[in-house]
């Protein structure tokens, strides 16, 4: 059976071009870049190239790029750095719809005595900017707001927010751009954003490597302490081959950005339109005017997400319900709850996330299978019968 992989916000396939540059770094160029010999030296150059490439995608300087082990570590590093650099400020602002990487850490810090403001969103997933700005004060060490939401694809106006909150007195603005990097244009050269997190495996690099952009001049403190790697900003022997891979993936992402925003977006739109037309009682979640080109979050009333996923899987279709990170739990995702998606629909929400690997054939397969699947499940659902009876 053909695999139809529509779960690219969970993780992506490593691109062939990326793998090609990565393998020599595993096989032959294995030296420790810190070493004083030719095996160390030969490992150093690809590392520098990778840093330049990541910087280029972000419109940043190479020295502003810190390599980490994942998006989660980038997020923790950013928040910890801001709090350490501003020990007198005990206030954090973030949103109710952040990824657990930011949310859990902030909840932990709240228990540790920090005051944390979790800014709410409206039905479309748009931030309550008034509440956000009202919360900022000279006590605010960091405002951490994601660039794009992993579940709905909703894009927040982080550039505008960064400027505003810093003018209102916040010390540091950080954005979790894990889902935005490679999908939409990002330019740190002329920006008020101080720190930005990204993760390799969301843009066709391998899992287990990430980066943190740190604007020159931003006060910093390491999260992982030990050796002098990354100029003392992140200890631990560099994940050399994966960093090289991340560099190449960033270069590729720049090349494919237009395709992502035209062909991929068109596929997503066709999928969405097709499903809405053929499946009654379904609707799309998120801010449709400000959305990643690859993401579609769609709710089917009166059915349950896991059941949909497993039935789709029988046809080779891979998608997710909520985020992969919370799929271990039985509750509807915190993002849908924050948006006030009604219970009748929240449980039956599916996220399709595309990438440049997807084709028209992939979309055809979903459009062929999904109406039948939803219908089968609805026939089994006591609520569907009720809802139909009420209507009649």
């Amino acid at each position: 059976m053909r695999t139809v992989y529509l779960d690219n916000n969970a993780t992506t396939r490593v691109a062939d071009e990326v793998l090609e540059e990565m393998i020599p770094c595993l096989r032959d160029v294995f030296g420790n870049p810190s070493s004083m010999h030719h095996k160390g030296a030969e490992a150093g150059e690809p590392l520098n190239l990778a840093r330049r490439r990541v910087a280029a995608l972000l419109g940043a300087q190479p020295e502003e790029i810190l390599f980490t082990s994942c998006g989660t570590e980038s997020d923790s590093t950013a928040i910890n750095a801001a709090l350490t650099a501003h020990p007198d400020r005990k206030h954090i602002i973030t949103t109710m719809v952040e990824h657990p990487a930011v949310l859990s850490y902030c909840e932990y810090l709240e228990k540790k005595g920090y005051r944390v403001t979790f800014v709410p969103v409206d039905k479309k997933g748009c931030l309550d900017l008034k509440a956000l700005y009202a919360a900022v004060s000279e006590e605010t060490a960091i405002v951490s707001i994601m660039w794009a939401n992993n579940e709905t694809g909703t894009i927040f106006p982080v550039e505008e927010i960064a400027k505003k909150v810093k003018s209102l007195g916040a010390a540091v603005f950080h954005t979790d751009a894990v889902q935005a990097v490679g999908k939409i244009d990002i330019d740190m050269a002329d920006s008020a954003i101080d720190m930005l997190s990204l993760s390799g495996h969301k843009l066709h690099a391998p899992k287990g490597v990430g980066a943190l952009y740190i604007r020159k001049g931003t006060k910093f403190a390491p999260f992982l302490m030990g050796g002098h790697q990354e100029k003392g900003r992140r200890a631990g022997t560099e994940n050399h081959s994966s960093i090289v891979a991340l560099g190449r993936a960033c270069e590729l992402a720049a090349e494919k950005m237009e395709e992502e925003n035209t062909r991929v977006k068109a596929l997503r739109d066709r999928l969405e339109k097709g499903l809405l037309e053929t499946i009654p009682n379904s609707f799309v979640n998120g801010d449709l005017d400000n959305r990643l080109p690859n993401t579609c979050s769609i709710s089917f009333e009166y059915v349950e997400g896991e059941a949909i996923l497993l039935m789709m899987n029988e046809f080779g279709i891979c998608a997710s319900s909520g985020s992969a990170c919370t799929s271990g739990s039985l509750e509807p995702s915190h993002v849908l709850r924050a948006m006030g998606v009604p219970f009748t629909a929240a449980h039956g929400t599916i996220r399709f996330s595309l990438s440049i690997d997807n084709t028209d054939e992939d979309i055809d397969t979903v459009l062929e299978c999904l109406p039948g699947i939803i219908n089968t499940l609805r026939q089994m659902s006591p609520f569907w019968a009720e809802a139909m009876a009420a209507k009649a």
Binding site: E304, A307, L330, M380, P382, F383
Partner: protein, 152 residues
Amino acid sequence: MWDYTEKVREHFLNPRNVGVIENASGVGEVGSLSCGDALKLTIRVGENDIIEDAKFQTFGCASAIASSSALTEMVKGLTLDEAAKITNDDIAEFLGGLPKEKIHCSVMGRDGLERAIADYRGEVVKESQGNVVCECFGVTDLEIERAVKEDG
């Protein structure tokens, strides 16, 4: 990803006895939309208290659907007294086991059956002790704990 047995998968993809029995002898409803799982079980009771037919409607995950399907298969032909002895463990066992995280789906099956039988007999189901985690189908902390422990 949950490790579902082949039997769970099979009952999920080809559920037996989906639907509602017209003029059922007993109806058991547990759960609600808000908690993400719900079951409506209808039974027809014939001579000598024998369950002649059972049908279900389920809103829930794969193991909830499979558990409901399994339950209807298990109770058909049993007397009410025999059926009342079925535990959620029996349902899980019938399916070749359920992942730990999914035990509560079989608890829902047993609860639905208990209510259907009570409905037929005109009894009131007594509320269990403990904090009700899911008010809608009355599964309590204690019950889940017990179920998880029994599963071992």
